[in-house]
Symmetry: C3
Subunit: 356 residues, 3 copies
């Protein structure tokens, strides 16, 4: 532990404390609202621990391995939440929390990053390389395609709508293959060489054992806390009297991405446009083209399946989100009002889910 | 009045004459077709008078105020027409005339401006700055988003579809906030400094009293004439035996934007690409992100509400219009066939409304 | 015939052989699967013969005439297939084979061309002029518009949905006019002057009589073979136990475009990016904005009409295809994963049609 700086030790201590408190709340029958709040904070903290561990382990192997590790392990907490939700039969929450995570990242966080980044720029125009935004748009359009045609087949009572599971599985495999075809050259490219967020604070590399330890502890911890989080979710939803859709699209989505989001906005405020956009866009691409299809395939083992069949309102939002993100970031420039336009889409969607 | 040039006095006289004739036709029970035609010409003339007044008043305060005045007052005649239509319970006409105004500007007028502008260019390629087209596309996508999700909620009998009024109001407020976030820096930018259309003819500024007088008279006049216009519309629709949708999308939309449209096409013919595009694009942005949401909020005071709930055909047209306008003008270049493509979309839509 | 090179004579001989075999199979009552396979190969061969004839005849008149000839005659085999399918009352096959031809070209072939072209490029990025891709996107969006609004009118039981034939006819005329407005300046531009695919192998121009002869024989032959192809299709579909949609979208679409497709991929492998993209994009533009509307108008003479009314799944695929093609090729650059994304869309669509 001596290899850790003082601030890192404090952070780890706080995360451990909240994790323990969340456990006590869960097994001690504390009020569900409190249990949910503790689990949320613990989960965000564990996501951060997993992130630090991943980055440190990756350092030994270069940027390519870091990238792959981040892609696969960085989403562990979110993955566990959805798996536990599916396990508990909370299919609406499971589905809306994935798609909500996508919307929170692509609309709310990207929007705020652009607003903050444009303010930080001397001429009010945030500038960044357009390659990653364009790649993300391609992946989003592909995911949208699957979701749109499954939705249309369903709405028009096509014979194919009886086979949503099969079509979703085929679509998931296709999506993952395209994701791999994208991520491998991307990781090899110079884009992966640039310093990752948070790297500056961690000048000294950790000993390997410690890094792996953090990874294992963080991963295992987030598996437990995800279970407690999902258990506390249902009574909290009922107590707050909000719709399941609002819980998934807004509460779980924002809670599950809090640390990542904050990092992106902080980078934008410091004028590090490319890094800020990179953090957010990578999140969007990973949820859309990696996490969602992986969960579709994993869910084949469960009684309740996750498919690409969404309610029409979310299908429309996904398509329009893909278009807006492409339109706004595709030219490598963005001004404040464009960020607000993305935030407005998220706000209107959140308002709509209140009435669902 | 001596401060006015000869041609301006003639124009004002003709507008006054048609306004009086439209009033006589309304109260004298003239045939509805004639009353409608007179009211249409008077309304177009009054829109021009309001435009001149706004521009002259704005001159005292610089481009920012001119822009805001034009945004708020320039749409007065159209605003009154929709308000009177809502008041008379003509909700289909009210709604289709706003959306029709958007389609007429974004498809028919923009298309003709491109065709004429491309012909005027030596190499057949009309070139213009792509910033305003891209901004307009962003605003159009945001408006499309609200309309698409309200439409999908409605079509899928979502619980949220019972709350279209509330969601439309929230969407309208969000849209207006984004519009303000766009329009303020836009007005401050150099874009606002370039000469506005028609400025050359009015070299000498008008005395302030006269300018305000024109504004007040034009505004008040268009309020009266809008009432007569809407009264004559119903019997004219019945006499011509056209659908309400055709009346709104084609007749009212073209009549309400005649002067503006003609100005844009004239500028394109003179090779003033940036100005021509600016006039048309500003109209589109204002209708989509200012006039429509303002009317949604105003209509809360009426028995018949205006919402963002449109018939599916218009939702699809709006989305495809947003995409086509972005695709065609987003690169700052356009050739004749692209203009014809926009005109073709409008023609097909107009043909379809004949069968509604 | 002496004017033909050795390899050309062999190709002609093989095509003639398969044409004769296809005829014998048809009239001799051979097993439908074999008859279908022979007709498919003969049809692909005859498409090649028509292509060579068109190119040679066009040489006498310059690139403009070549272009027009290719537009009108190059699609003869496909045109005949759809006409015979309509004549036999196979409306699903007729419609899905046109739209399938579009999807096969815009997704499968373009995707493979990009994958191969990106591999052939030293830095893994295929580069090409973005004008033709952008023009094709404009035409695709226009076609999508007609198909989307006809589909929405139908789905929402609009009064206009009773007039799909009339609206389709108006849309077809509008589409053809825009196509003409596009193709004429395009043919006059330098784009048409660049060597067409295959030109290098045919260094020496053919005598005029031979070229016209090939054109007439190829055209007449493909008319006959198309009839046999369609006759063998129904029993083959039943024997293979695949859906009509799969037959149209996959089997007929790939069979009907085999030669063209292969040519495009070969050009990409040789690093001739612009030519490769040009061949594929022209096919897409011609099917969307020329062949489809022409067939809609021709079908007015038949008992079974072809309209722009498609099943919702294909409407969604068309819209997303238009967007993906624009997004991926609009910037004049493409990398391998973008090609795979297009191929993935086609694969998912093909999988879905299996369940229709």
């Amino acid at each position: 532990m001596a290899a850790l700086g003082r601030s890192e030790r404090i952070v780890l201590g706080v995360v451990a404390l909240f994790t323990v408190l969340a456990g006590v709340a869960h097994y001690g029958g504390w009020p569900s609202g409190l249990a949910f709040a503790l689990a949320t904070v613990a989960l965000a903290g564990l996501a951060h621990v997993v992130g630090v561990g991943t980055e440190q382990v990756g350092r030994r192997f270069g940027p390519a391995v870091t990238g792959v590790l981040q892609s696969t392990l960085g989403n562990l907490p979110e993955l566990f939440v959805v798996i536990f939700a599916l396990h508990d039969g909370e299919t609406v929450v499971a589905q809306t929390s994935i798609i909500g995570s996508l919307f929170a990242n692509a609309l709310l966080v990207l929007g705020l990053v652009i607003v903050v980044g444009a303010r930080a720029a001397p001429d009010g125009v945030m500038r960044f390389r357009s390659k990653l935004p364009m790649d993300t748009s391609t992946l989003l359009l592909l995911t949208s395609f699957i979701i749109v045609i499954v939705g249309l087949a369903h709405a028009s009572h096509d014979p194919a709508s009886k086979h949503v599971r099969e079509i979703s599985s085929i679509g998931a495999v296709a999506l993952l293959l395209v994701y791999v075809a994208w991520v491998i050259p991307y990781l090899r490219s110079d884009a992966a060489v640039e310093p990752q967020p948070g790297e500056e604070e961690h000048g000294e590399p950790m000993p390997m054992g410690l890094a792996v330890g953090l990874l294992v502890l963080g991963g295992a911890g987030s598996a437990f806390v995800s279970d407690w989080f999902v258990s506390a979710l249902r009574p909290t939803i009922d107590a707050l009297n909000v719709s399941d859709a609002f819980a998934g699209i807004v509460i779980v989505a924002i809670a599950g991405n809090a640390v990542e989001n904050f990092a992106g906005i902080l980078l934008a405020a410091k004028g590090k446009s490319d890094l800020a956009i990179s953090v957010v866009k990578n999140s969007v691409a990973q949820v859309a083209a990696f996490l969602y299809p992986v969960l579709v395939l994993i869910s084949l083992l469960f009684a309740h399946q996750l498919t690409f069949a969404l309610a029409p309102v979310y299908i429309g939002t996904l398509l329009l989100t893909s278009l807006a993100v492409w339109q706004i970031t595709g030219d490598g420039e963005a001004v404040a009002f464009e960020g607000w336009a993305l935030v407005a889409i998220y706000a209107i969607l959140a308002a709509l889910t209140l009435y669902e």
